[in-house]
């Protein structure tokens, strides 16, 4: 196995699963292989994809962020309250929501770094706080009726061959593209991989650990805020219980995408493919019509298991070749 193939193998396998899965669906349902299905797959999973990009960065740095679902919920409520109760124009409301979500993430990153607390538990507290703040604003589901919401929902990029990309789908694709650049062609990206690979070595090499930690959680919060905006566009409402469990879906997407939860290894593109695989399973079950929704959960659980085993297998092979010992 050559070095490049070895490095990209998890990514290749994940992509192959997506392609094979899509082909199976297309063979079974004649209407499946259409641009409409592809466009819906992208639109329906846009908020998940945007959040998962932030989660990938956090996990690459060796951390985890359990607060993202709650931040999405809080953002939708904040937007609904500002626009409907406060009479704000959506654009400044978007700005305030993004600043709030990014600031929230930065605060968590700061606590994690300064007090050397496990990210798992700090972001768990963050999850409680964000959900709680949403509840305090309002426990009702508030519909957003601003005309701009209708206009934004009608916006789409149409291609001649029949593909119609909605604004959420475009936003997700843009975020993924920007994230690939950020991860692989910037100093921040290099710092991130170094930090996740080995914190002590990174510190000794002169990686600004404090700044990188705070930045990565701020970025995750910011992207969760953006996902909240997309979610409020998608549902046309703000609800404090929105997007419960999204933190798990995103972590699952990251793992299926081949990123290692111990940090330091993985690709943003893999996460994007992982999100699409989850979406594909859901679409398949919708198309089938006779399968019950719980098969989604079981199928995703099985996929998760298979991909983890695959990663373990690869790590063991590498360790046998004198690489890093495979302790995960």
């Amino acid at each position: 196995m050559t070095g490049a193939l070895q490095r990209f193998l998890p990514l290749i396998v994940t992509t192959a699963v997506l392609v094979v899965g899509f082909l199976i669906c297309a063979a079974q349902f004649p209407n499946f292989a259409s641009w409409r299905v592809v466009a819906n797959l992208l639109t329906d999973n846009a908020f998940l994809g945007i959040t998962a990009v932030g989660m990938t960065f956090v996990i690459l740095s060796g951390g985890i962020d359990l607060s993202v679902g709650a931040v999405i919920g809080f953002t939708t409520v904040l937007l609904a309250v500002l626009i409907e109760h406060g009479g704000w124009h959506p654009v400044p409301a978007f700005a305030v929501a993004l600043i709030a979500a990014g600031g929230f993430g930065a605060a968590m990153g700061g606590v994690i770094h300064v007090f050397q607390m496990p990210p798992f538990i700090v972001t768990l507290a963050g999850m409680f706080i964000a959900r709680g703040l949403g509840f305090v604003l309002t426990t009702d589901s508030v519909p957003i009726n601003h005309p701009l919401y209708g206009e934004l929902n009608d916006m789409a990029l149409r291609f001649d061959f029949g593909l119609k990309l909605s604004l959420p789908a475009l936003l997700m694709l843009g975020v993924v593209a920007a994230a690939v650049v950020l991860a692989h062609w910037t100093r921040f990206g290099a710092n991130l991989y170094a930090l996740g690979g080995n914190r002590q070595s990174a510190e000794l090499m002169g990686v600004p650990v404090a700044r990188t930690t705070v930045a990565v959680y701020a970025l995750s919060g910011l992207l969760a805020g953006l996902a909240g905006i997309v979610f409020s566009l998608y549902t046309g409402a703000g609800y404090s219980l929105a997007a419960t469990g999204v933190e798990l879906d995103t972590i699952t997407a990251v793992v299926i995408g081949g990123t290692q939860l111990t940090g330091g290894y993985g690709y943003v593109v893999g996460t994007f493919v992982g999100v699409l695989i989850q979406g594909l399973i859901q679409t398949y079950i919708t198309f089938d019509g006779t399968l019950s929704s719980w098969w989604t959960k079981i199928a995703i659980g099985v996929l998760l298991f298979v991909f983890i085993l695959l990663q373990k297998g690869l790590l063991t092979v590498w360790a046998g070749r004198g690489g890093e010992p495979a302790e995960a």
């Binding site: 709680g132 509840f135 079981i298």
Partner: protein, 347 residues
């Protein structure tokens, strides 16, 4: 033999916090400590705290030992849903109580075994290993109930949730029994020491002759069993199983209870009783917020506040600046050269 590992001074914050929360409840609600006997069962706000806190306390008992091995079990909520779904479905189909109980507990045992094998044999990171069952488990529970909310009328099973033994509600009795059995298992034998050793350093403890895979599998199996008992209580209490919502997010409450109880997420020494105290603190706060007429919406924020304060007190950075009792070490920073349970747990 003490049930909680180190010296009594370290337990003071937890007991103090519990007493403070209870006193605060009493100030808000003068009848808080009033207990009356009615139809052969105790009633009162204090009993209510114990009764409602029982499922999380049970989860916390199992979770404590998992966390002591430097792991975490995210699947306990889903395991509760599976065990409850099996109990309700089998009771509805006319099975006898012993068969129902055996099947539910066996399901919990199997779930724990699955988690344990993933962590101990395949050496998968605990968060991820148990994430699989957390995601798939609720699907399995829905498979059992076929997506319905299954209800039953059997008074025998319902007794576990709403009955009483010697005037004490059954959930409380069961929690005390499980806590006592667990404490006996880990503190009267060397098992507790081995669990702590694995948590402090898996490689070294294996080198010292601890059979780490067996210890790890045992810990996850026990956690699965505790979750199954909690699932039985919840199902018996509402006389039905809701695969979607039974035990939802309780894994987080259980982890919170363990952390509030002072067991470090970095593994090592643990306190079973303190974790139960942690669960009671959380429940007493919930009850207090409800009694005080505050909106229940504040519940989560208060919970997060308590969590942060406890974490800050345990933080290595902060403890460096605080006066520290003689011999105590900042939790999780310095690996003690001697066995981690210097204060107690002598077999």
């Amino acid at each position: 033999m003490t049930l909680s590992a180190p010296g009594p001074a370290r337990n003071l914050p937890q007991y103090g916090a519990l007493i403070a929360v209870l006193l605060a409840n009493w100030l808000l609600f003068p009848d808080f400590f009033a207990i009356r006997l009615q139809d052969g069962r105790l009633f009162g706000s204090l009993i209510d705290v114990l009764n409602r806190g029982a499922p999380v306390a049970l989860l916390a008992v199992g979770m404590t030992m998992v966390i002591a091995t430097r792991g975490v079990d995210l699947s306990v909520g889903a395991v509760m849903a599976i065990s409850g779904a099996i109990a309700a479905t089998m009771t509805g189909a006319g099975w006898s109580l012993p068969a129902v109980l055996a099947a539910s507990l066996a399901a919990g045992l199997l779930c724990g075994l699955w988690n344990g094998v993933l962590v101990a044999v395949l050496r998968i990171q605990p968060i991820i290993a148990t994430l699989i069952l957390m995601v798939a488990g609720r699907g399995i529970a829905q498979l059992v109930t076929e997506g319905q909310i299954v209800t039953f009328t059997s008074p025998a099973l319902a007794f576990i949730g709403s009955g009483s033994f010697l005037t004490v509600p059954m959930p409380v009795v069961l929690t005390i029994v499980v806590l006592a059995v667990t404490a006996l298992l880990v503190r009267a034998t060397a098992l507790g020491l081995m669990i702590e050793a694995v948590g402090v350093n898996r490689l070294s403890s294996a080198g010292a002759g601890v059979n780490t895979p067996v210890v790890l599998v045992a810990v996850y199996v026990w956690c699965g069993l505790c979750a199954a008992v909690a699932g039985l209580i919840v199902t018996a209490d509402i006389r039905g199983a809701d695969a979607n919502n039974a035990g939802l997010w309780l894994e987080l409450d259980a982890i919170l209870a363990v952390v509030v109880g002072g067991t470090s997420l970095l593994g090592g020494r643990f306190g079973l009783v303190l974790s139960v105290v942690g669960a009671l603190i959380i429940q007493a706060m919930n009850t207090g917020i409800l009694l005080s007429g505050f909106k229940p919406e504040f519940n989560l924020i208060v919970k997060a506040g308590v969590l942060l304060v406890v974490l800050l007190l345990q933080s290595p950075t902060l403890t460096l600046f605080l006066p520290r009792p003689k011999g105590a070490r900042p939790i999780g920073t310095v690996k003690p050269p001697v066995a981690p349970t210097s204060g107690g747990a002598k077999p």
